[in-house]
Symmetry: C2
DNA sequence: TATATTACTTATCAAATGATAACATAAAGG
DNA sequence: CCTTTATGTTATCATTTGATAAGTAATATA
């Protein structure tokens, strides 16, 4: 198979994922926080406990800027900051109760959009979709 | 199958696509244009000919801001603006020769990153990946 | 123990993006 | 023809995000 052709298909697929995602997330953002802050909360939500540096690295934000945004989220009472027991230079970030609620609410909205778009999927179709994703995650979009 | 579970898998997959994409695009951007301008050029590149409104709609930019960014790209000689013959309110946007070259160069860089990450794929694997993408594009990430 | 290095913070400035009002002009519809 | 609607532009301001220098405190290391 022509590698260029294959690459084109992948790029095209990525484009479709991005635009679909945009549609899904539409109207799902709180008006209190910025998009970047929302991605930080998402990241913390899925990772449970992280340090400031990890947030910075994984979301490609410089450490000072990550620190700034985390401070804002802290002042909004959406995250908890604890000094790490074993290495007190480190700060452990986790979602506060309000932060968790915010994430759950926005995911509910995303989920509604999702089912509006992808309803009437049969059992078989869901299974086939999941196995497709597994293939892609194994070979192309490898989880960090 | 539990719909919540299915939703989780999809969200997780989307996350992986986004972070992989970030990696792929790393270092692939021109230093002359902003990320948003780059996505505009990408969009025009794949769509061949579009109007200002289409750029605004598809990239979720307000019309005035789309107009502003297109003006900058025009001044950089990266796009061509032509008044539409049939409806002279409309402007047809397309890539200039330098614009096309810029896109081709950045795609080459993205492609290099891609193969660095996803090399040694067999014929069978590529075919299986493509068919997985087709499934997802049919059912979940439906092209606009 | 002196000296690096790591993790983070604060402050400041610049650049990119978003939002909105006011305007111009072309086309559509009564 | 007159009014309304659609397409786009310009200008201005606010917000968000990026970049960088300087500083603090804890840990690692020579």
């Amino acid at each position: 198979m022509d590698k260029n052709k294959f690459f084109q298909v992948v790029i095209n697929f990525i484009g479709n994922v991005h635009s679909s995602t945009h549609f899904l997330k539409k109207d799902a953002r709180s008006n209190k926080i910025t998009p970047q802050q929302h991605s930080i909360l998402e990241y913390v939500f899925f990772s449970k406990e992280v340090t400031t540096s990890q947030v910075a690295d994984c979301l490609n934000i410089s450490l000072p800027n990550a620190s700034r945004e985390l401070k804002k989220l802290f002042k909004l009472d959406l995250i908890i900051k604890e000094s790490n027991e074993k290495d007190r230079r480190k700060t452990t970030i986790s979602l506060s109760k309000p932060g968790q609620n915010l994430m759950l609410r926005t995911f509910e909205r995303i989920q509604k959009n999702f089912w509006k778009q992808a309803d009437e999927l049969s059992e078989d179709e869901m299974r086939s979709i999941i196995s497709s994703m597994k293939v892609l995650e194994k070979k192309v979009f490898i989880p960090y």
